[in-house]
């Protein structure tokens, strides 16, 4: 327990730091990029971290903004409890490294991006994410949520010179509008049923919870990147500058997950088992879908963005499974699944930010994100290479890093479900879920072996990659901090679980479910690995000292030197897997051979594998086409003719009267 005013003081500090940036940028010029703003962002994040730690230590509270800061007659209300504090910590631990990263990284964007707009949007995004987490009523939530959507839209559009970025920003804007529409619908429905706008007053059970619950799941799912609403995420996240991609993928999607946990799980506002099954099913599909499409990508950052879909899927498996299990009367399973989901939220925030910052560093020094243009960066950027590889190992769930710890908890949840007294179908599903997570994990391993291998290893495939240099120190410090977090959380998993079980307990489960479920000898493993690594390191250095290692070329079968084009490409690396799952995205290889005597002396040979996502071409494309058609048809009404407008008004009035007239 800390002093009850500590969070308020922290909040004021946070607000001061994060508002200082936008206010002072207005004085500065368009290309302003001084470390001052980064320091302000970092200091605000440290203050936020303090608030989060205070909240986790047991300080809770409910605050209303004083009178002039109302919105009409409605109040802004904020509430801090342990769950909110945990997510504040997630926001803060990603923002601090990003503050180290920003000054050097934004140097190369200064001329392309309006820096005043950038700093204003970034501060607004950070403030509004914290606002969403702390919101206690619908109004506060929606205002913060909209600010979050709009500021991140501005950040996606920051570098709006390339056409692709403008398009990405537009698609993202459309997605946020769709999400907010569903959210507003869900909240209005809940208000109509309960007469209250405060989340704490909502206690819907049974059928009443289902309707608004589903609308809210869709609204939040769009933001979280849940399948089938994940379409925008891999387009929008990579378009933003890398630190922003890290914030969006690492933190912003988690804010949507926070709302799901808050509304459906811990003291649930909406409680219905079907909501759990929906989240579980969509989460399982998202996990697989995300990693499968990540495999097929050529754009470095887009690949990472698809992995966000995968990891959100894993988290949703935990959240959905927890809701379902709580309704089945299995509090232990529910607590395990919830603990796994919340732990994975923090872990994913760390390693996904690390990977995005690594991708940003690659983009920064080789000026391309195309996997087929990269290669050989390991020799040129050794630190970025090492840190990225560590992040890749963490996201693949390899021990003893943090990704393994949370995936292990997720496995424990599904195994406990199968071991409990429920109907055989559910027990079987629990076991199949374990196999499913294993498949997703193996696919992630394939994808990151490809990413590391093609980007950092072998020989450079372009001049940009050839002349790449290690990035400035600040960017390395940022990645180093996040990598250290990945190691610490992996080795210190029992402590994280002890922290989580102070608030993430489903009623009915014992107080020590999470920490007693942790039976892994991770400490012993770490000692064994450290000893063998040390022995190996000694041996390696000894071998090179005694001049027993000769440097030569890679074996070329005696045919003369290899060229970079002879290396495996990102496309051919995944060909075996793409063929295995070909029915999901229509995998086809097209050959084109041309020339006057094309049989014996072909002049051009083009081999091009094509993949087509059936969801996009068969479902979304027709929908977009119809919306477009309907839009242009409706646009005809806006022809500037006063008669047409009067007619529209008259018809509307008539319809309203007809509806209203039926209810006396």
């Amino acid at each position: 327990m800390t002093h009850p005013l500590l969070p308020v003081i922290c909040a004021i500090l946070v607000a001061l730091c994060w508002l200082a940036a936008p206010v002072t940028t207005l004085i500065a010029g368009r290309g302003a990029n001084s470390p001052f703003w980064s320091i302000a962002v970092g200091a605000g994040a440290v203050a936020l971290l303090c608030a989060g730690i205070a909240g986790l230590a047991g300080t809770t509270g409910l605050w209303n903004l004083p009178y002039p800061l109302w919105l009409g007659a409605a109040r802004f209300t904020f509430r801090l409890d342990a769950l909110a504090a945990y997510f504040l910590v997630v926001i803060a631990v990603v923002t601090v490294p990003i503050a180290f990263y920003l000054p050097a990284y934004m140097e190369h964007l200064c001329r392309k991006v309006d820096m005043r707009l950038f700093w204003i949007s970034l501060s607004t995004l950070l403030l509004s994410m914290s606002g969403v987490v702390l919101a206690a009523n619908v109004l506060t939530f929606l205002v913060a949520w909209e600010l979050m959507s709009l500021s991140s839209f501005l950040l996606v559009a920051a570098d709006h010179q390339p056409h692709a970025n403008r398009q990405a920003a537009l698609i993202y804007l459309g997605a946020t509008r769709l999400g907010t529409a569903f959210l507003a619908g869900g909240f209005l429905w809940a208000h109509a049923l309960s007469g209250s706008w405060t989340f704490q007053d909502w206690h819907f059970r049974g059928a009443a919870a289902l309707g608004p619950g589903i609308l809210l799941i869709i609204g939040l799912g769009v933001k979280a990147g849940m399948w089938p609403f994940d379409l925008w995420l891999p387009i929008a996240h990579p378009a933003a500058p890398s630190p922003v991609s890290a914030l969006m993928s690492g933190v912003m999607v988690k804010v949507a997950i926070y709302m799901m946990v808050r509304l459906f799980l811990l003291q649930p506002a909406f409680n219905h088992p079907a909501l759990g099954y929906i989240l579980l099913g969509l989460g399982a599909i998202s996990a697989f879908w995300g990693v499968l499409f990540a495999l097929l990508q050529h754009d470095f950052k887009r690949l990472l963005a698809y992995h966000t879909v995968e990891n959100v899927g894993l988290i949703l498996i935990g959240v959905g499974g927890s809701i379902a299990a709580a309704n089945l009367g299995l509090p232990v399973v529910a607590t395990l699944a919830l603990g796994a989901a919340l732990f994975h939220v923090l872990n994913h925030a760390l390693f996904k930010s690390l990977l995005f910052l690594g991708a940003g560093a690659v983009d920064f020094s080789s000026h391309t994100r195309d996997l087929d243009q990269l290669g050989g960066l390991g020799q040129r950027m050794p630190w970025t290479f090492a840190l990225f590889t560590l992040g890749a190992a963490a996201i693949c769930g390899l021990p003893p890093l943090n990704g393994f710890a949370s995936e292990w908890m997720l496995y424990q949840g599904s195994l406990h479900l199968s071991g409990s007294r429920v109907i055989p179908l559910l027990r079987f599903s629990g076991l199949l879920m374990a196999g499913w997570i294993a498949l997703v994990g193996a696919l992630a391993l394939a994808c990151f072996t490809k990413a590391v291998g093609v980007v950092f290893q072998g020989r450079p495939r372009s001049r940009g990659a050839e002349h790449a240099k290690e990035v400035p120190g600040g960017m390395l410090v940022a990645q180093g901090l996040l990598a250290a977090g990945c190691i610490l959380l992996g080795l210190g998993a029992p402590y994280v679980l002890r922290l989580l079980q102070s608030f993430a307990i489903i009623p009915g489960a014992g107080p020590h479910v999470l920490s007693s479920a942790w039976t892994l000898p991770i400490g012993t493993l770490a000692v064994v690995l450290a000893l063998t690594f040390a022995a190996g390191g000694l041996w390696l250095s000894e071998a090179s000292k005694r001049d027993r290692v000769r440097s030569y070329i890679t074996w070329e079968c005696g045919f003369g030197d290899l060229t970079p084009r002879m290396q495996i490409t990102a496309t051919s690396f995944v060909q075996p897997i793409a063929r295995m799952f070909g029915m999901l995205f229509r995998y086809a290889v097209h050959f084109r051979i041309e020339g006057t005597n094309r049989r014996l002396f072909p002049e051009t040979i083009v081999v091009e594998p094509r993949t087509e996502a059936l969801l996009e071409t068969q479902v979304y494309a027709p929908v977009v086409w119809w919306v477009d058609r309907a839009g242009s048809w409706i646009a005809r009404m806006q022809a500037g003719s006063i008669h047409l407008y009067l007619l529209t008004m008259f018809v509307t009035l008539l319809i309203l009267l007809l509806i209203a007239g039926r209810h006396p």
Binding site: R427, F428, A442, T449, G453, L525, W555, I568
Partner: protein, 310 residues
């Protein structure tokens, strides 16, 4: 009493270390000798792998100028993951020195695969690239099969730790069928993990038909020795684990028979390898998923059995 357990614990640790040190190369020698005999050749001496290893350790190393630390460290990381895994699984029928669980075991193997993969990609050679691509494609099914099969046992034993999963249970038809399905799933996964026929040919010299051999193509001298040793240890470990599951059908009652039975089962596995490698041909690359899918199916069936019978 605690003194007795302390002594037996120490004994078990020593036994594990002894087996890890000697048995893998001995197993390789046995398999080679067996293949020779079955093909009406004299075959190399059983101790030949020891000589090979000693020779490799005396040699200097050639390293490609394209590589980074990843290439040099991959053999070390690979060996230390397999070594840790070998200390965590009760593959010789005695309590393992470190109480491991099956998820940690499978993911440690995955860590070894990851390090070997980035080691191979490091050279910029097409062989390494294609080998890595194939290795990770194969591991999709092997990992799923192993997790499903072990998960069925874990749910049956209400614990994911190897000690509980592989401790003797009262034999019944139910247990027999379960063990059989798990053995099928694990054995098929193990064949792929060990890079053995019919998934991979450890003796071929056509680089593009191989998986594992192309993966370690650029290694020479002591690093190659470490790679070879890791593969041998992994083979031994997986055979031992499959053997432990098979022993669930007729569990031995005390420590000494358990140990001897386990060695016998490993030997039987080696004989099976010899027969398979002498009579089967390597499958075409495109047919391998079909073979491994039997393993996944057996794993799913084992899960179904556990789910229905409890």
């Amino acid at each position: 009493m605690s003194g007795v357990t302390g002594v037996s614990m120490l004994l078990s640790v020593l036994l594990y270390l002894l087996h890890i040190a000697i048995a893998p190369l001995f197993l390789v020698g046995l398999v080679r000798k067996g293949k020779g005999l079955l093909q009406r050749r004299q075959g190399p001496s059983v101790l030949q792998p020891f000589h090979d290893m000693a020779k490799l350790f005396r040699k200097d190393e050639t390293v490609s100028g394209t590589t980074t630390w990843a290439f040099r460290w991959a053999p070390v990381i690979g060996l230390s993951t397999i070594f840790s895994a070998a200390l965590m699984a009760p593959w010789i029928g005695l309590r393992s020195p470190i109480p491991g669980d099956f998820l940690l075991f499978v993911y440690l193997l995955a860590l070894g695969k990851f390090s070997a993969g980035i080691g191979a990609m490091d050279t910029g050679s097409a062989f390494g690239g294609f080998a890595t691509s194939r290795e990770v494609a194969i591991s999709l099914q092997t990992e799923a099969a192993m997790i499903l099969a072990f998960a069925a046992l874990a749910v049956h034993a209400h614990s994911s730790s190897f000690a509980a999963m592989l401790s003797p249970i009262r034999p019944s038809l139910h247990v027999t069928v379960l063990a059989l399905l798990v053995v099928i799933a694990l054995a098929l996964a193990a064949v792929a993990e060990m890079s053995r026929m019919p998934v991979d040919d450890p003796t071929t010299h056509l680089e593009l038909t191989m998986v594992h051999e192309a993966l370690i193509l650029e290694y020479s001298g002591p690093s190659l020795a470490l790679m070879e040793y890791s593969t041998a240890l992994k083979t031994l470990l997986l055979l031992g684990l499959v053997g432990q599951v098979a022993l669930l059908v007729a569990p031995p009652q005390s420590a000494l028979p358990a140990y001897l039975f386990s060695l016998g089962v490993i030997l039987a596995g080696a004989v099976a390898l010899v027969i398979a490698e002498s009579t089967l041909v390597k499958l075409r690359w495109r047919r391998i998923p079909n073979l491994l899918s039997f393993g996944v199916t057996a794993g799913v069936l084992a899960c179904l059995l556990v789910a229905v019978r409890g």
